[in-house]
Amino acid sequence: MIDVRNVTKRFGQGQAAVTALGDVSLTIPEGSFFTLLGPSGCGKTTLLRLIAGFELPTEGEIALDGQSIGHLAPNDRPVNTVFQSYALFPHMSVARNVGFGLEMLKRPKAEIDGTINEMLDLVQLGEFATRRVDQLSGGQQQRVALARALAPRPKVLLLDEPLSALDLKLRKGMQSELKRLQHETGITFVFVTHDQGEALAMSDQIAVMSAGSVRQVGTPEEIYTAPRSRFVADFIGDTNIVNATLLGFDGDAAKIQFGEGTPLAVHTASTSLAPGPVHVALRPETIRVVDESAETALLRGEVVDSTYFGAGSQMLVRLEDGVSVHVQVSTPRPVGSRVGLECDTSMLHVLED
């Protein structure tokens, strides 16, 4: 288990100092596939480098299984990294690359050779042991980097956008491969990515980051269906954010109203919001199109655009207050027609900002 407690990281001094991470706290459960997700510059790589030991925290503490590691050198931490550029040693064979960590730990030669074979089999590169790394393809280099980082059996494996240099097909393959490796080894994986699809597909838990802080931590389902903030809702998948009025709370549920419509009880990210205008998130695939006059319609508007994408069409509906909503349908209504939109109230979600 990794405990990140109130970690702040600033680069530079005085006036020119840039805060890359501001008072971040996180708990990464043991044996989980944990993803740090966010746009570039959000601090996710800095957090990873702090856990690896390439950077030291300006303030705060990082603990691994209860022991403070925040100020140890990288070579004193039972943590290994898969680098974005792979950083394979060009002057060594594949086997020596994989065995390097154990070699530095001065393990017996027989153990090193055994582990090298085991790791190369694990990443399905058994017959490449004697090759030079520059004779391998990008995908193969990626797997060597994985094997090299896994060989010393670290407690935590850090992966810094390892799939970003691969083409789409290879990336899909590596996603399931990484998932399999994590299951087989039981090692905690901390995975950094800016690709929300990748994060949703692979993770046990996701921490969504922006501007140097963690915005939300949760399972992919929680992050997708119950985003807390506008930022998270926007960043994860396609989403619509519409205006509503908060009337009050009924236990854990929020009572809201669209325009002058009937009050509805829906999920909320926070029960400490003040009554008044709020934002509500709803996913395009949960919306159904009905006639404008239908009783069940929650929102009403005019179709302004319609795009065919094979499996269906995406319609753009402009609501009465000017907000545009994406809707996925199998048979689109003609542009210019007025429609009603309905959805299960369980799919609505009040955001905290």
Binding site: G53, F54, F83, F100, M104, L105, A149
Partner: protein
Amino acid sequence: MGVAANISQPDAATRLRAAQEERARQRRRTRLLLLAPALGIIGIFGLFPLSIALVYSFLEPGTYGGVEWVFSYDAYVQFLFERDIFDDTLAFNSAYLQIFGRSFGLAITTMIGTLILGFPVAYFIAARPPEQRNFWLFAITLPFWTNLLIRTYSMLLIVRDEGFVNLMLMKIGLISEPLEMLYTDGAVLAGLVYSYLPFMILPIYASLEKFDFSLLEAGHDLFATRTQVFRHIIIPITRPGIVAGCVLVLIPALGAYITPELLGGGKKLMIGNLIALQFGSGRNWPFGAAAALILMAIVLIALLVSLRAGASKEGGHG
């Protein structure tokens, strides 16, 4: 139709072959023409002077310099043996071997000195942001703009008894008498290291410039200490630059002439001074030529052996 095709086919094949041969001939001619300037330069400035030296080394010395056109291998004999003036018997004489040994010792020490000083400098420059590197490289090459002779004279002014170093040391009271630095081996070594340092820095920088510094992080991440990262990652990857720098320093340092002459006071003969002496007051051109060729042979053999050793070591990694 069938008959006509049968007749014309071998004919076409022959013509095709003839055309191909003609094209191949043309290509060979073009290649030779394109190579001509390079071959010309190597021939005129490399092989031709070398063959003069080779021929001269097998002739007899002229009384007032120059050579007598009589075949003799005396020059090579003289390198190892002393001929008795009266009865012509040969006695082993190690004086010239000692000169060679001293020169090699000095050159190797110079090489090690420039390596120890040059590597950190090259690393420093390579670790600068790209826009700053050119400034530092400029600073390294700046001394080349001044003649070596003048730079060596300046060294002489710095290390002599009334020189800058002694004056400063006496002023701060560390010494009361000037240290005798000029005309010592130390002065020669310092002069050589100073002169040849850029030849060590530049090739090492060239190999470090392409160095991927994330490999250092990868090494540390895989439990290597700083020393281990240096030994197992930095050194092997920059080895070509280090070897090139060592060769570029060792070879000219072996034949150095000005520095031992000025800073060593010519008290101890080095190969360079020995050879220069033969063409000057020694008036023994064949012996000078022979000494130069022996030096060249030793360097060539040493290089080949070290290259072979390096190659087999590289192969062993596979």
